[in-house]
């Protein structure tokens, strides 16, 4: 199948959009036609084939209707919320009021030259799946955290998909202005099948603190390709957590640019796969300025025939001195058929740095198992306990909050089933 040809054929089926978006779509489609999709020759796509998530029956479809949010959603009733159903903004389920923050759909303004230009710029660098995202973009969210505001409640973006063979593409922009503090949670869920393309752009300004949590909890037949790109300015701090529980084949890229001195990022990830799930995470941190730090912990729990892939790149540019960077990837294989691939990579062009990475792949520690079993736990109970502890290691990098408890409960629930 010629994928790029297929997507230019079905492009006409997209619902009409505001003028700036129409322009972005066409530009991106041209970009996609020119670049094509990554092939297995592409090192970044060594373990995940583009053809696994692309098929002839994919295409844009009219948005379905949703009467209530799905059960697993992590939202509390009083928290700000923007809901995108099949890539379209759903006003009835959303609560856009937030103290200290502006939350609105991407296409809220018919004429939005600033945004249009910004998107066009982002698209001009996009290839493959990034170009696909912009070419089929229907809507998304813009979240602006006001300067010096401390937004106490997490702001939720819930992406819900319905129907079969759907290609849905959304884009979320998060701008944390100077000295602000906030938490944004993106949740991907739904029913049916198809391909979800979800890109998020984040800018954390001077001395702002942002926590961004991404929960990929798709239905079993949905493919998911997503990207989080963040730029951190002076003394900015970002905590990015990616949790992957669902989907058939999923691929998430997280790229962080530590653009100015004092910027610090903590990137964590937890991927849990079973059956024949395939989960690929690709992280990239660029230390563009001196005195920047990055710390990363990714963990995988793989059962049945699931496959987990982790690639973590740390890049230290020339003259970016006084860098501290650590990266860990640990994989727990619960069955003989599970597969783990890990590629922790360092590229360092400065000398005054302290960078370390570690990776392990193995099964449950027999000594811990023995300890628990000698105290009367069954093998199943002991495995469950050890696995939950293994996963919580990642989740507990978040400060204590009702949100963290909900997330931990969701993860524990997944492990019990």
């Amino acid at each position: 199948m010629d994928a790029t040809q297929h997507f230019s054929d079905v492009h006409g089926a997209l619902p009409p959009a505001v003028p700036w978006l129409t322009q972005v779509r066409l530009q991106a489609l041209a970009q996609l036609t020119a670049s094509g999709f990554p092939t297995n020759k592409d090192e970044a796509w060594k373990y995940t084939r583009a053809s696994w998530v692309l098929s002839e029956d994919l295409g844009p479809q009219p948005a379905g209707a949703l009467s209530a949010l799905p059960a697993n959603v992590l939202v509390d009733p009083d928290q700000p919320l923007i809901v995108l159903v099949d890539g379209q903004f759903d006003a009835s389920l959303s609560r856009l009021d937030a103290d200290g923050a502006g939350v609105r759909p991407l296409t809220a303004k018919v004429d939005d030259p600033g945004l249009g230009d910004r998107m066009a710029l982002a698209v001009s660098n996009g290839q493959g799946f990034d170009a696909l995202n912009a070419a089929f973009l229907t809507d998304g969210a813009i979240i602006e955290i006001a300067p010096s505001s401390d937004v106490s409640q997490p702001i939720h973006v819930v992406h819900v998909n319905t129907g079969a063979g759907r290609l849905s593409a959304t884009r979320v922009l998060i701008l944390a202005k100077a000295n602000s503090r906030a938490t944004v949670v993106e949740h991907f869920m739904g029913t049916g099948s198809g391909l979800r393309s979800a890109n998020t752009e984040i800018i954390v300004q001077h001395n702002a603190q942002l926590t961004h949590i991404r929960v990929q909890d798709e239905s079993a037949e949905t493919h998911h390709v997503g990207r989080v790109s963040a730029t951190l300015l002076r003394d900015a701090r970002l905590h990015q957590l990616s949790v992957a529980l669902g989907g058939k084949v999923s691929r998430v890229d997280v790229s962080i640019d530590l653009d100015q001195a004092g910027a610090e990022v903590r990137m964590d990830g937890l991927y849990m796969g079973r059956n024949a799930q395939h989960m690929d995470h690709h992280t990239f941190v660029r230390h563009s300025a001196p005195h920047t730090n990055s710390h990363e912990l990714y963990k995988g729990i793989l059962d049945d025939k699931a496959r987990g892939v982790f690639t973590g790149q740390v890049f230290v540019a020339k003259d970016s001195q006084k860098i501290a960077s650590s990266q860990s990837n640990h994989n727990l294989l619960l069955s003989d058929d599970a597969v783990a691939n890990t590629r922790p990579q360092l590229q360092i062009f400065a000398d005054d740095v302290q960078c370390a990475h570690g990776a392990t792949i193995g099964r449950t520690d027999p000594e811990r198992m023995f300890y628990l079993r000698s105290r009367g736990l069954s093998r199943a109970q002991a495995t469950q306990l050890l696995t939950v502890a293994f996963a919580n290691d990642v989740l507990f990098k978040l400060p204590e909050s009702p949100l963290r408890d909900k997330l931990a409960a969701r993860v524990a629930g997944w492990l019990e089933t």
Partner: protein, 483 residues
Amino acid sequence: MTQPTEVEKLVNEHQEYKYGFVTDVESEGLPPGLTEDTVRWISNHKEEPEWMLDYRLKAFRHWLTLTEPEWQHVTYTKTDYQSISYWSAPKKDSDKPQSLDEVDPEILETFEELGIPLHERAALAGAAVDAVFDSVSVATTFKGKLNEMGIIFCSFGEAVKEHPELIRQYLGSVVPIQDNFFAALNAAVFSDGSFVFIPKGVRCPMELSTYFRINAANTGQFERTLIVAEEGSNVSYLEGCTAPVRKENQLHAAVVELVAHTDAKIKYSTVQNWYPGDKNGVGGIYNFVTKRGKCLGDRSHISWTQVETGSAVTWKYPSCILLGEGSVGEFYSVALTNNYQQADTGTKMIHVGKNTSSTIISKGISAGKGQQTYRGLVQINKGATGARNYTQCDSLLIGDGCGAHTFPYVDVRNGSSTLEHEASTSKIGEDQLFYCRQRGLSEEDAVNMIVNGFCREVFKELPMEFAVEARKLLEVSLEGAVG
């Protein structure tokens, strides 16, 4: 105040590359260029049987279909394969020296300068040296003693003539001609090399060593080494290299194949100190080598140890294919890049058999504008239940112009295996330096000491004489990197 020792040191510094001298032996060479005729000429000149020529031609024809790989993290001017000569040999090839006395005294002098007077060193260290000077073996010692035990240690050319059945059985069985660009090229035009065969149950009584040396200008050297260890045998092989100063880049594309049968153990140690180019990155050797060992039998064991301080561009991955149940692969490496040197090196451990284990210890030191990359693969196949790997790769940075990069690939396909990978990159700690300086060591001595400590885990794997040489090499190679 200048003290005598300092004067000496200054002189040494200006001496630049210590082993940079050219032996004035008239070389009998082929004109530059590579065609099928070149391959036929080499084969004919070496009086090879037809099957050997067929093998070379097959490799050459395959090579024509390949393009030079570009994925490695190095930049260099590509070799024009039509502008180098594929054969050079000491003139007196027709009447090869039968014993040391017959060896051209000029060549023997070269070895003297290198610090390995053949007879003395052989006697002292109890090692047999199959000295490869340019492309033809000129001397083989201790042959009689080894012969008595049934050990074959000879030049590759000789082995093709005298032990064709062994060569036909094992040649290309670990590194097939289709393997990669440089392996194919080597298979087509290899000039000579060493062949070692250790029969069943024999423990080789001495360390086998060979000295490679590139001499004639404009000659790529294509060595081929094949070591076969039969059931229950044991051998340790040393390989050390130096090369004279040349302005053009010289290509070295060697292939080393190791085969270990049941309960056999092969230990392969390398000290590589070829001309690294001058301080501005001009000249130096391109070292593009394919080294691979096959642990064919159960409980077989292959261990690679390398100290890489030379060459302008190094690109090699000594690897182990662990087929036999309970077989063991090891890789210990110290690589140093100074000035404009580049190295992209590492290993591959392919676990196929049950309960196989592998250890990788890699230490990289980058100084000046050196760029260094560790690239490795640990693959644990579905059937390799109970496999185990431990990997540690550390990089040390000296100076703000250098770079250190790590690209490990880990691929685990069954749940009963355990794998650990650790890596770190940092510069020499200020506090460590301060501690040493405060106790009266010069900065250079302090750095040397810290670097030595950093490499200790690898050095202790080297045979003793090699360990001493390796330590000295590092010190020489690091000169000018500090202060």
